[in-house]
Amino acid sequence: MSSATAHRPDTTRAIVQPADLHDEYVSRPASARKRARLAREVTSQVLLTLVLLLFLMPFIWMVATALKPGNEVFASPPSLFGSEILWSNFADAWTFVPFGRFMWNGLVVSVLGTVLVCVTSVFAAYSFARMRFRGRSALFALYLVTLLVPQEVVVIPMFIFMQELGWQNSYQALILPWAFTAFGTFLLRQFFLTVPRELEEAATVDGASRLRILLTIIVPIAKPAIGVLAVFTFINYWNSFLWPLIIISTQDMATVPIGLNSFLGQQGNQWQLLMAASTISMLPTALIVIFLQRHLVKGIALSGLGGR
């Protein structure tokens, strides 16, 4: 890495400038410079690809195992591919446990939860960012304080609350407890504050209501921020484990992680089916992230969704 950073001033510029322009800045002969740069680039690429392959090895092994005959999962010596490629494992995983049901439950909970979080956050965030009312700063401070309280701390009162309402083992119990956390409101408020007031003032002069201003001016501008909130809310709901483990008691209400966990130990771990199911379980969030990667990197940087 030290060699990679040795010529740091040029390297940062290389991001924004074409390679030939880049060379004007240095005194060494262009050809020698270019060759050294190319060599460094190639070395870096090769090393990084190796590290990445090593890093992705668990995923690679997961997919490979998902395609093996069951009796070859622990074959020794190990081989990436079994004696035959069994695509049928994916279909078998689907029926071995009600995996379609788990996926459906997960989608219902994640989609509804995401919509709820986004809608309530947009309205609350706009209210905090742009409107005056008594108790605004105190209320916002309360919101902020709760950001530091981990979900794990409140699962017990939440469980009792759901019990009192008679909501155990239901969609609303999976969705509602995590649909009103302060995070979305905080994130969107930060973004709304950066929208110039002049944009709204013109609309106000034209007689537009607050609701109209919010929906036709602010929300379109804030789409990237709302999108980031939506993606991460979806991912959190989809991957959530502790709470469903506590509140869900029947298989027909299980979400994907609970379903996967219940797989384990059933009729002597069918690892090839379990790996097929794991592969399927990763698809929704992985695809979302792959398609939206550029926005997400920006969003993570701006909003502070990091630090897991």
């Binding site: 990679a4 092994w61 409107m131």
Partner: protein
Amino acid sequence: MTSSTTAGAPTTSSAPRRAPSLKRREARTAYAFLAPSGVGFFAFTLGPIIASVVIAFFAWPVFGERSFVGFQNFVTIFTSDPIFWRTVGNTLLFVVLYVPLNFVLALGLALWISPRIRGRGLYRLLFFLPAVTPIVANALVWRLLVQPNGVFADIASWFGVEQFNPLGNEAGAMAAVVAMSLWQGFGYNMLVFSAGLDSIPDHLYEAASLDGANAPRRFWHVTLPMLSPSLFFAAVMTLITSFQVFAQPYVLTGGGPGVGTTTMVMYLYQRGFQLFDLGTASAVATVLFAIIAMITAVQFLGQRKWVHYE
């Protein structure tokens, strides 16, 4: 709706009279906008936070009578509980191993990928992938790998290590949990640091170079200070979340061998939902929260010493 245009009317006498009504109307709209979030917030966030402390002072079985017992639950876990302190120790050990390693990996890779490498978007994305896939699925894959007859054992045997079974002893099991958690989690911080690195202006490095600063000095005097807000934020978040570790040991090791990898949240779960003792579980949650709050407070107090905001 139309009042905003009439409010501008140049009658001096009407202005002070109309202003408060406008204000009141705005406040009414504001409360209406806030209501859905606010009601849910009090019912599902603030209420449970307060209740979690209250419940810790009760004997509160899942089924049956509850009764106020004062500090009894805390006394129990602090003095007569055979494993509470073990779970605190395990959690602290996890945090102490996980957080620094996470930072080294995340910052190291962010530096490596950031400046000039072609396809860096793809690299970042792929290193980030385990962070967005279900932890349970990730942990299951690792469980497959570290089985005594799994592929890691085969690789170990090439290096002359026979009887490879990390989950069979406490140190090995904790190492497996930490390794799996790092693999799963460092991508978040890598992205945060990458974005932070991208936003450092070139001219700072140029100026430093002109002053004769070499690469390590530039890293120490330009990169680190400029990155310090990102580092601080990531430190706070990573510490909070690492104290909450649950799914990795639950799926990978089952908390074992013995209670070797049982964490505080895992203990909270067992105590509350397997032993049906919600009062004591709440006491565990309260202690967990107190630890997190203290550490976060210390971090915020300490940030003035090293975090540079522009």
